[in-house]
């Protein structure tokens, strides 16, 4: 359980960069993949967090999938759980993610959100373009 929210069980491999779990809802079971990609910008290394739906036909992540499986909170809780798992193995790194919500922010020691052209400490009820977090 993460921050009071139940999450899906998830799988990973020995690299701890790739995670899989299954969303369950009215649309059935949908395989989700979370990936932490190492990157470097301005001489600083960070990991880009991204996740999406696996398309079994194309054998690729489906960029346009809107699964709407009525379990958004549980999916976000699961992604947050993978952040904890990932940073347990890579404790001294930054995780970058793009999106309007950082998920369960209380899990992280530092959360910066990018809004109106600058990075600011995270506050509730503000829409952000992107986030940078580190482990508690």
């Amino acid at each position: 359980m993460v921050d009071g929210l139940d999450h899906y069980p998830f799988l990973t491999n020995e690299s701890f960069l790739d995670f899989e779990f299954e969303s369950e809802g009215p649309k059935g079971r949908i395989k989700k993949v979370v990936r932490y990609s190492p990157q470097n910008a301005n001489g600083i290394t960070y990991f880009n967090l991204a996740f999406g739906d696996w398309n079994e036909e194309t054998r690729k992540i489906d960029d346009s999938a809107i699964s709407n499986n009525k379990d958004r909170e549980r999916i976000l809780a699961t992604v947050a759980a993978t952040v904890l798992e990932f940073t347990a193995h890579f404790p001294d790194v930054m995780v970058y993610s793009k999106g309007s919500t950082p998920g369960r922010t209380r899990l992280y020691q530092i959360v910066y959100g990018f809004t109106t052209g600058e990075w600011l400490p995270y506050e509730k009820n503000i829409n952000y373009e992107a986030f940078l977090t580190t482990r508690k």
Partner: protein
């Protein structure tokens, strides 16, 4: 009290895992979607930079971590 500055090493540590570890989970590093997202993040961060506090703590690692 002196504030401890953490340096990003990117070094993998052994930790108790709450995930099911299996080689059935493939390496998605070359998936076009994740490649695109990682490139977009790099463009974004090179344009806008990092938060000052984090940049100070994490600066110094010039190369990608050995994962």
């Amino acid at each position: 009290m002196k504030k401890q500055i953490r340096i990003a090493t990117g070094t993998k540590r052994k930790a108790k895992s709450h995930a099911i570890i299996t080689d059935k989970v493939k390496d998605y590093g070359n998936d076009p979607y994740f490649v695109k997202k990682a490139k977009e993040s790099k463009i974004f961060l090179e344009k806008h930079g990092f938060p000052k506090g984090l940049a100070l703590a994490f600066h110094g690692l010039k190369n990608k971590p050995n994962v």
